[in-house]
């Protein structure tokens, strides 16, 4: 079958959609021509809807199997591929490497240590369509960043690479075995591998680590088939030994922590290395229409260099805007319904697509995410501007919305109520990546969406009142029982 090595559809069970198309955007970079073509596909096959995912893919829904060959041919012509969605297989098989997540400002961010786009593309190009790597025990997720903001979340990847400095030398450190879903041994943050990786070694390192997984990952049991199970059961030392055996050499030992996560993800207008500017535009839940995609492409052509980037926080970046064209670009973005304004939380809130998975009913995570942002902005205004706050929402325990690592995490649960099923959310607090990384702790269950908004407002009000600039610090400063009280009881 032509295309079977590089293209597939995934299963939907909600919103009347049976199948989705997840287009991998290599290194998060695409052109205006690409975006217009995706917009056309969305119009023709996907009801004019598109969403940016937290792995820098663009996802379309309502895709019919009978149309797939035509869609795949178009994507192939454009140079795109899709995830190979083998996770529906009941056993531990058909796993592939997913889109390599990169810092969306790589190559233009004037604070970065190294441009990682060529490395990400090299890794992607090797694994995509490679028949030797399409039947792994399960999927394998890689990220790489050269920036200072931890925007690629290395601790939740099977292999998270991030740039470090050793003296004057720039290289990479690696974190392994992270994954937040419920498969065994449960949600896990990755562990530092403790080696120094030179840029020219990155591809070999990624390949060797995937080879360890491919050869030794559990093929007997699907719940034990993710790489985190191997890391947990083998331990870091054995993983490193086997990895170095595959690599064919030992790497220098290097003590390192995890990169700090910013609460803003390159938000708003930033000056590039070359003096031009990029604009990171917030898109709550990554939801866009085909019309907006065309509008973005037009603005990129007229006021940038025809380039667009999608980010791991479901936003997009318009790069290469000259200083004297910034106002015009911002005005045009506002005109197409994408204003570049709001609190930092608008850029970093994450919501999954459980509406299409069929794992939630209204209000779905993306809808509640929007409501939370608008409510917080209305209630606290500019006071939010200096607050580091990450709110992540998942519609189910598979945690595609990363609720385990949100300062405020919300997990959707469906419950019997009224005349049928109602949507509720479990609230957790204290999830964090970076030097103080931890998984969030559940504090309250089965909240209605209205209660969720009140709880979040109460928590943010207390955090601001007590003068914290970082919601993670606010969580650490209080016992869980005290946070519970703060969340549930309005304090004046």
């Amino acid at each position: 079958m032509r295309f079977a090595d590089r293209f597939s559809l995934g299963r939907d069970r909600g919103m009347g959609s049976r199948q989705f198309l997840r287009i991998k955007v290599p290194a998060g970079v695409l052109t205006s021509k690409h975006l217009r073509a995706i917009s056309e596909l969305s119009d023709k096959y996907g009801r004019g809807y598109a969403e940016i995912t937290d792995r820098q893919d663009i996802q379309l829904h309502w895709i019919q199997g009978k149309d797939a060959p035509e869609i795949f041919a178009k994507l192939d012509e454009l140079g795109f591929t899709t995830d190979k969605c083998g996770q529906a297989y009941p056993g531990a098989r058909y796993g592939d490497t997913r889109n390599v997540v990169v810092c969306p400002a790589t190559g233009i961010n004037k604070h970065e240590l190294i441009n990682v786009a060529p490395l990400a593309k090299k890794i992607n190009n090797f694994f995509i369509g490679n028949l030797d790597y399409l039947d792994m025990p399960r999927k394998f997720k890689i990220s790489i960043t050269g920036c200072e903001l931890g925007c690629t979340r290395p601790e939740m990847q099977d292999l998270g690479l991030f740039a470090v400095k050793r003296g004057v030398e720039v290289g990479f450190a690696a974190i392994v075995g992270g994954a937040l879903g419920p498969s065994l041994p449960g949600p896990r943050l990755g562990k530092p591998l403790g080696v120094f990786i030179r840029p020219e070694e990155v591809f070999d390192v990624a390949k060797a680590m995937v080879d360890v997984f491919k050869e030794h990952g559990n093929r007997e049991s699907k719940p034990k088939a993710r790489f985190k199970w191997l890391v947990e059961t083998w331990g870091l030392e054995k993983i490193r030994d086997e990895f170095e055996r595959k690599l064919g050499r030992k790497l220098e030992r290097f003590e390192h922590g995890c990169p700090e996560v910013s609460g803003e993800e390159h938000a708003g207008v930033r000056e590039q290395k070359d003096g031009k500017n990029f604009i990171c535009v917030p898109v709550i839940g990554g939801v866009l229409s085909s019309k907006k995609l065309r509008g973005i492409a037009d603005i990129a052509d007229e006021l940038g260099k025809g380039e667009i980037r999608v980010t791991p926080y479901q936003n997009f970046i318009l790069p290469h805007v000259a200083r004297d064209k910034l106002d015009a670009a911002l005005k045009r973005l506002k005109e197409i319904g994408l204003p570049v304004k709001g609190a930092p939380i608008r850029w970093v809130i994450v919501g999954c697509a459980s509406d299409f998975c069929g794992k939630s009913v209204e209000p779905h995570p993306k809808q509640v995410a929007k409501r939370i942002v608008e409510h917080l902005e209305g209630r606290f205004g500019e006071k939010l501007n200096d607050l580091k706050l990450l709110v992540h929402m998942s519609g189910c325990m598979h945690d595609c919305g990363l609720h385990h690592i949100g300062h405020i995490g919300l997990l959707g649960v469906m419950a019997a109520g009224g005349d049928g099923v109602i949507q509720a959310y479990n609230l957790s607090i204290g999830g964090e990546l970076g030097a103080k990384s931890s998984l969030g702790q559940p504090i309250e269950r089965m909240l209605t969406p209205d209660q969720v908004v009140v709880r979040v407002e109460n928590l943010v009000a207390a955090c601001l009142r007590e003068g914290f600039k970082d919601f993670g610090e606010f969580c650490r400063a209080h016992p869980v029982d005290a946070i519970k009280l703060i969340a549930s009881k309005r304090v004046k």
């Binding site: 079958m1 079977a4 090595d5 597939s8 559809l9 995934g10 299963r11 049976r18 199948q19 199997g65 009978k66 797939a68 060959p69 190979k84 969605c85 083998g86 529906a88 297989y89 009941p90 056993g91 098989r93 058909y94 028949l131 399409l134 039947d135």
Partner: protein
Amino acid sequence: MVPKGKVALKQVDKGRYVMDVRGYTCPYPEVLARRALNAITPGDVFEITLDNAPSCETIPAAAEELKHKVLEVTKLDPTTWKIVIQKS
């Protein structure tokens, strides 16, 4: 995974055809089933063996859309299914 070799529609008896698409994920089992149903004669029976669970929904839906009769959707073992369709 992508199985090696071409997927073949085999005639096993008069008016009865089989196809094995194990190893293929969506949409390929459905695409291949549509092609097979297009190739056989009305009244013929087509049996497809697969290991991609979502296709147990998409293939019967496609068959019904084309007005064919779904005779059977059977789980053969924990990872394998058989769908039998009669072309209308």
